[in-house]
């Protein structure tokens, strides 16, 4: 990467991906906190271009899984291979450089940053100015700043956020904050996008918009995505494959309709009351659990 945004394709690193190898392979992953097993021997693989969903009741280990992928948690055992390299040997900040972008479950981390600044922060690994060059702000630094601002504005345009580009994140409605976060993750030009409950706390209308964006990321950009979400309707309607966790274990994996029919999943999700899971909806999204 020369630091110049490659506008020909938003997910610019896709050419490096070998379509016959999984982009991400998780093998026998276990995470434990003070005796509590957050994840037990979880294995799965995500293929290039796939929209892979991870679902499960509260406390099933979904967020723990993401935290391992972000290198925030150190697993007790297991292997994670991303695009051919051992992910567990990277430091947290190197994960972003390797091509994994993650959205946040809750917003509010950076309330004073404007939306545009936030996207530019997302481009941190794609820019190169160090302290001395930045402090002088001459030629190349200014150029780099300009080019990356142009790139970010492009993404803001795509996600209909251009009007709020100079508003501080903290002053925006929650739904817009989450959308700005998604825009920031896209600005990182990742190979793999981790979506941590992208519609949690959103209105139906907002959920619909995000669902449309996720679909477009998949269909138009071919970007590989892993989606952790409570909203069953959203997951069942969008995902290519679904992994179901319960108490840190994989209880099912497969296509949405297979998973929905799986008795273990129905039991884990609905307990003893054997209601029907929301049907895979064409008119997304049907129900918002939150």
């Amino acid at each position: 990467m020369s630091g110049r945004p490659d506008h020909s394709n938003l997910a610019s690193d896709n050419h490096q991906i070998n379509p016959r190898e999984p982009l991400l392979r998780v093998e026998q992953l276990s995470v434990r906190f003070a005796g509590v097993r957050a994840l037990s021997e979880v294995s799965f693989a995500v293929w290039p271009g796939e929209l892979f969903a991870v679902i499960g009741p509260n406390g099933a280990g979904k967020t723990s899984l993401f935290n391992v992928l972000s290198r925030v948690y150190q697993p007790e055992a297991g292997r994670v291979t991303f695009a051919g390299q051992d992910l567990l040997r990277l430091k947290p900040y190197q994960v972003a450089r390797a091509g994994i972008a993650r959205t946040f479950q809750n917003m509010g981390q950076f309330p004073t940053m404007t939306v545009l600044e936030y996207l530019l922060l997302g481009r941190h690994t794609r820019m190169h100015s160090g302290i001395l060059r930045a402090g002088l702000f001459i030629g190349p630094t200014r150029r780099e700043e300009w080019e990356n601002r142009a790139y970010c504005l492009h993404i803001l345009d795509l996600l209909n956020l251009k009007e709020v580009r100079d508003r501080p994140l903290g002053s925006l409605p929650y739904g817009l904050q989450k959308r700005a976060d998604l825009a920031r993750a896209l600005a990182m030009e990742p190979q793999l996008l981790l979506l941590d409950e992208p519609v949690a706390g959103m209105s139906l209308e907002e959920t619909e918009e995000i669902a449309a964006i996720i679909l477009e990321i998949k269909e138009q950009l071919g970007l590989t995505q892993i989606l952790v979400e409570h909203d069953m309707a959203l997951v069942m309607g969008l995902a290519d494959r679904v992994l179901v966790l319960d108490f840190g274990r994989v209880i099912a994996e497969g296509r949405p309709e297979e998973v929905q029919a799986n008795p273990a999943v129905i039991k884990a999700y609905l307990g003893e009351e054997s209601e029907q899971l929301p049907a895979p909806a064409d008119d997304l999204p049907a129900v918002s659990e939150n």
């Binding site: 993650r102 309330p111 940053m113 922060l121 941190h124 142009a150």
Partner: protein, 416 residues
Amino acid sequence: MIATREPGPSRLRQELPREAEPPRLLGSLARWLWLGVGVLALLLFFSLASDDWFTIVNYCLIAAIATLALNLLSGYTGQISLGLAFFMGLGGYTAALLGGNPPAGPLDPWGLGLPVFIWLPAAGLVAALVGALIGPSALRLRGFYLGIVTLALVFIGNYLFRNLTFITGGPQGRNFPVPAFGGFSLDQQNSILGIALTSGQQYFLLILVVLLLSALFVYNLSRSRVGRAMRAVRDHEVGAAIMGVNLFEVKMGAFVLSSFLAGVAGALYVSYARYVIPDYWSLSLSIQFVAAIIIGGIADVWGSILGAAFVFALPQVIDYFSLLPPSTGGGGLSSGDLNALLYGLLIIVFLLFEPGGVIGLVRRLRPGGPRPQKLGTGASAGAAVKEGSESIEVVDLQQRLPGPGEERGSGGTGAS
């Protein structure tokens, strides 16, 4: 919509969209006007002020450089430091050693007699070097712990400054010679381009140039990749790391640059006072700078300068104008008491009512719209109302990324 093809990189290089242009330093009429007003004010001050005023303002400008140094580290990057006085002292003694007179007596220990354009940058570099050595261990700590470690630096420094007599002259201090540029030294009248300048005016010019360069550097940094990374580290360390920010690199950068600026400020201070004792570099000096960034404005260049003015010049101005005696034996209010009262009051008022500091107040009152509120001012930053639903969700600012066992950001943003 996402599939929209963009022009390729080569075409982009020729014509970047105007709307994406980074704001220029003097990009608007208003800024040019402010520049004009500023230059005019400086010219008026320069030609009308008495020597007393130059003394007050020169010290204040030196303090502003050090305030910038602290704001860079604590305000922008969120790393609490009480060690500023230590790094200023390092700079001060480096300058004294390099620029000092050859040994002549107890008040003139070892000195190399080098000119100002050597000792001034050298003072910064030595302080930066020491910062670079201390940083890797100190910056493992966060929040209060980092504060305590940097506090210890002040005491270690004080011990060293008292005992390295061959450099520092010990507790009674050492002289610092008048800086000289080739033919003329700054303690006497000189004429530059036919204008006769007093000593105070010459110092003023020297200090002003250094301050402007420092301020410009910090401002540029703040609006660039590095500045954004610093603010991200301050606001949420884990979040910053997830976006690819190398926390250590950013913190070290801020620490080293902050030490550099503090060293330069210390050298200027010593050179202007023309004397240096270990007691200059005390904890209370460090704390005054903390007060300056709180009163002036966290993470703001103008805030640093205003803060320095409030903390370091206002007391002198009050002394100057006050009809009260400088100090009273018993009862009665002295101007010193008045200063202490005002100073404490100011900090409380700003912490409670205007966490953005003086500059936050100025920006809010300025026509052109309200500025973003600083953190800690309450609900606006974190509360979100989930519309179309009976439940109102409040996003707790403290409730951040993952749960147990993860490292947390220092959390103490903005108003801390």
